[in-house]
């Protein structure tokens, strides 16, 4: 029996158990993102065996600087930031490097054209409904994933007729405002979000003048060049049409401000700006029946334009003056089909993309040539489901083949007429299985291979100090995990708990090797492995208490140097107990405390320099009043001013506070 399925992207990610019951036959599908699975406990609707965690963006989360801060709630995830609001922020998954995390907006790639780590600080959380983190291999539906995994950002979605306004103020001159409005019904709905943010970014730090062996010259200073202004917007439209759903998504982001850099010689006059525009169009159609059979089809395309400028005419931030204006374009197309029977199913994916990266330094007479990358990928997944006694087994085997061609057309005097290219054929595979002996519990396991292509700077250089190498091989990784997921209700406790052991083995890792006083070149020289365990919980204890926690243990090894990988603490934990109460007269309140602990770790590849363990404590209060039409969030972070740096030489803001007031109007409030 065919049934319509409406998987709400804004829900908590729990598969809608039995939601297909009683639906009218042959009804057109609306809002389908995934077929509803039989009730195997899982972190992802897309693949019950995936090591996935979904974090919804609520009002508290909206108060955070970026998605990186939110990632502390996810086991196996390690966010890293270069400083305060507006500084680069990235995500390491299971000890992989930042650029081994694939970032998707929905199912569309978001990373910089030509590769490289995505800067999470450029995605205000107000534009998102949720983030999903897939550690290790990801479902083929998402394209397979990076060596570390996939961070999937789910854009905010329409919620009927509603509007809200939010204003924020915080430490270090931070302020922001955003407006959101949504309208529509089951046939057509649209949501728009627009906001601005500002910070002076003048947080304090201990200036040791770089003389670590002499404490007499240490002095406390404030950052001088951390001011940032941002504007952003999102419009997401979904309409029932052509027997499925048509969606259009437009996002825009702009930032201008100072470059903080290392405060040993902190720039004061260097400015940077970034703009990014992304437009996407998609069509999806799905049908399913209550026996789990059905099919779905999705096609999508996106275009992304971005521009990054840096004005450092005095050479404050690097080796010599630079006034750069780097433009990039990315076009991406994707089509996927999944057919599913009661026992067997299959999925096919085809995608293609074109990236163009055109760096420019206005201080150089010679133009820097633009580089391009064209890529195509096809993938196939087979799926088998079975019952073993009372248990359900869901297995998937997928393989994909990607072909990429990167080219550099020499236009600079010393490259004139040169045509440099690199071609890669990249096979990848993934095997996963979920065994559910009970509806609320599943054992999961997967083995996957993944690849990171050399980015265009690694292949062709930056026209200045980085000398590329077209002979680079892709970084390759094999990940495996095994564990269990509990998701359900028991003894007044509801939610999910996940625990897994994992391993990640990487080779041909690209390392920049300095080759002279002024140049560095990338080489495939490293091998590494990470073994670990991760434990995550998102639990509601009755109606008045909630606990969110994550624990990650990692033993990382640089197999070339036989020592721990830098920036990978063995133990990281995060816990956030929260109490909620109805205070009467239409007022509800909640109170939470969060504690984040990171163990000691080295910061250099030789593991000579170690930073000690650090603990950050935060707390917050939320009051919802006027019967849900207004909400006040007060948030304190790093209350004891531990101010741990994620990266050496880039201090982060320590203790800071913020207050947010949100006014909401809408049907259902």
């Amino acid at each position: 029996m065919d049934v319509p399925v409406d998987a709400d992207p804004a829900d908590d990610g729990v598969p809608d158990e039995g939601s297909a019951e009683g639906a009218p036959e042959d009804d057109p599908v609306y809002g389908a993102q995934a077929l509803v699975e039989q009730p195997i406990a899982a972190g992802s609707d897309l693949d019950a065996a995936a090591a996935a965690t979904r974090v919804p963006i609520d009002a508290r989360a909206e108060s955070l600087d970026d998605a990186g801060e939110l990632m502390r709630e996810v086991p196996g995830a390690s966010p890293r930031s270069f400083g305060g609001l507006g500084s680069f922020s990235g995500l390491s998954l299971r000890g992989a490097s930042l650029d081994q995390t694939t970032v998707l907006l929905g199912e569309l790639p978001l990373g910089p054209a030509g590769g490289g780590a995505f800067d999470l600080s450029t995605l205000p959380l107000s534009t998102l409904a949720a983030v999903e983190v897939y550690r290790g291999g990801a479902p083929l539906w998402l394209g397979g994933g990076g060596i570390g995994g996939v961070l999937r950002l789910v854009p905010r979605d329409g919620d009927g007729l509603a509007a809200s306004q939010r204003v924020d103020v915080g430490s270090f001159g931070s302020a922001g405002a955003r407006l959101m409005a949504s309208a529509g019904d089951a046939d057509l709905n649209v949501v728009s979000v627009a906001g601005v943010r500002h910070t002076r970014g003048d947080y304090g730090y201990l200036d040791d003048a770089g003389t670590r062996l002499d404490a007499t010259d240490d002095v406390r200073r404030q950052r001088q060049n951390g001011q940032v202004d941002e504007g952003y917007g999102l419009m997401h439209l979904r309409a029932r049409a052509l027997g499925g759903e048509v969606a259009a998504l437009v996002t825009a982001f702009g930032r201008t401000g100072g470059l903080t850099g290392s405060p040993v010689e902190e720039p004061t006059r260097t400015r940077q700006a970034r703009t990014r525009f992304l437009g996407a169009l998609s069509y999806a159609r799905a049908r399913g029946d209550d026996e789990g059979a059905g099919h779905r089809f999705a096609v999508a395309g996106s275009a992304q334009l971005s521009r990054d400028t840096l004005s450092d005419a005095l050479g404050e931030a690097g080796l010599g003056p630079r006034v750069t204006d780097d433009a990039s374009r990315r076009v991406f197309l994707r089509a996927a089909y999944e057919g599913r029977g009661e026992t067997f199913g299959w999925m096919a994916l085809a995608s293609g993309g074109f990236d163009r990266y055109a760096p420019r330094d206005h201080l150089r007479a010679e133009p820097t040539p633009a580089s391009r990358r064209a890529s195509g990928r096809v993938g196939l997944e087979g799926r088998a489901r079975a019952r073993l006694g009372g248990a359900r087994l869901d297995t998937r085997l997928s393989g994909s083949l990607a072909l990429t061609r990167s080219t550099l057309e020499g236009s600079r005097a010393d490259l004139l007429g040169q045509h440099r290219e690199a071609t890669d054929v990249i096979p990848n595979a993934r095997l996963s299985a979920a065994l559910a002996p009970a509806p609320s519990f599943a054992l999961t396991g997967s083995v996957a291979t993944a690849t990171r292509l050399p980015n265009l700077v690694e292949l062709f250089g930056d026209g200045a100090f980085l000398v590329g190498d077209t002979r680079l091989k892709p970084e390759r990784g094999v990940s495996a995990d095994f564990g269990g997921v509990w998701r359900g209700h028991a003894h007044g406790v509801s939610g999910s708990v996940e625990a897994r052991a994992f391993g990640l083995f990487s080779r041909d890792l690209i390392r920049w090797v300095r080759t002279s006083r002024f140049t560095a070149t990338p080489q495939n020289v490293d091998r590494a492995r990470v073994l670990g365990a991760e434990l995550g919980a998102r639990l509601d204890l009755g109606t008045h208490a909630r606990f969110v926690g994550a624990l990650t243990f990692m033993d990382s090894r640089d197999l070339e140097r036989d020592r721990a990988l830098p920036l990978r603490p063995q133990l990281s934990t995060h816990g956030r107990p929260e109490l909620r109460a109805n205070l009467g007269r239409g007022v509800t309140g909640s109170l939470f405390v969060d504690v984040t602990y990171q163990g000691a770790n080295s910061v250099d590849p030789a593991a000579l320099v170690t930073v000690g363990s650090r603990t950050m404590v935060g707390a917050g209060v939320s009051l919802s009043f006027a019967h849900g039409h207004a909400r006040l969030d007060l948030l304190g972070r790093d209350l004891f001013d531990a101010a741990p740096s994620d990266l050496l030489g880039f201090p982060r803001p320590g203790r800071r506070f913020s207050a947010s007031l949100t006014l909401m109007e809408g049907v259902g409030l």
């Binding site: 003389t211 062996l213 001088q224 004061t268 005095l314 201080l363 365990a533 090894r557 250099d604």
Partner: protein, 417 residues
Amino acid sequence: MTERALAMCLLLTACSGPGAHCPPAELTPVTDEPAFALVTSDYASSAVALLDAQGELLSEAFIDSGSARPGLATALSGDISLPTSLPSAGHLWWVDRIGVDLLGEAEFATGDVRQLATTPTRIAGEAAFRANPHDVLALPDGRWLVSRYEPNYAPDAQPLDRGNDLLVMDGATGTLQARIGIEALDEDVADADATTRTYARPDRLLLRQGRVVVGLARLSPDFRTAAPGAVALVDADTGEVEATLLPGLSDCGEVEASRDDDARFFVACVGPTHTDLAGRRDGAGVASLRVPASGPAMLEWIWRAADHPELPPPTHALAPLMDDVLIVASMGDDGEEPDRLLRLRLADDAGEVVYESAQAFTLGRGAVSPGADFLLMPDADVGVLRFEITSSALGSPTTLAASPCRRLPARELRVLR
């Protein structure tokens, strides 16, 4: 389940830790007098190893990047260098270069250490300046000269913060006293498309006949354009600068004293940086010059790589064996050509390759032992190469593992006494 997970954690924790478990480099007083200092570095972190008079390892790290808790920087950055001439006996000196911009001094007998800034304290709002000190030279009167490689592009920079100069410091207090500008040797270089400013960029320093010899890189801000090669003689009292051009050579920052002649020195020129070995030939070479009582240095002998296509171009790591025999390294390129060590004979312009490394960018500055009986050359791939010297010829090298625990590549070696 949780107990099992914790048990696994404990097991794995016991197996390995974040550090390399090397003996800490805590500036422990040295009882055996070291004869050589060796920088080992992967350009992210560094250590200074000490060798005895026979070239044997005394300590693989008297000091390293982990010698103090990290803050904004580490105890040693990944980009340190040793002075060309030892400022004072019984001490280790190092130059912590761009982005840190410090001089370091540690006393072997006590482990006492000083770190001295090579830029003045910044005024609020002032533009950042990365001086990139390259060398320090002690003058007989107690002053030090520090070559600051980078010019300050801010027009309103403090006088002592201008860079592209020799900074005069009080050796006792570390106070910045004055600067000797080398701007007179900046030059606009024109080609068909544009005119590019090159800066003198003082590099290595020597004291010869009471005058300061300064190797000059003369490169543009992006290091792609070079003015004709030159060295300068500087009067540290009057600030007078006199240049000698080295025709056909470029980027001539490395200078090295003659072993036998107090008035003589050698210079190595890298040639164009952003190119391969073949492209480097047009500008690479070495020269011998003499310091007169007055006036500019006199060019005695010049070896241009362009004139010797039969040999790889000599570029760096000068080590005079005796007055008419030089050892010099030839930089390879991106994996196609390895580094090589050349032996050049001034008397008849003869040259030969005496060693070939496994890959490019591995050979660094080495040193001949005080008794001229062996040569030590750092090779990042294998450690320190030891060549016995017999009648100005080099024997086959033996290898010393210079960083057995830290596994940092050997980069630069200097004589301490």
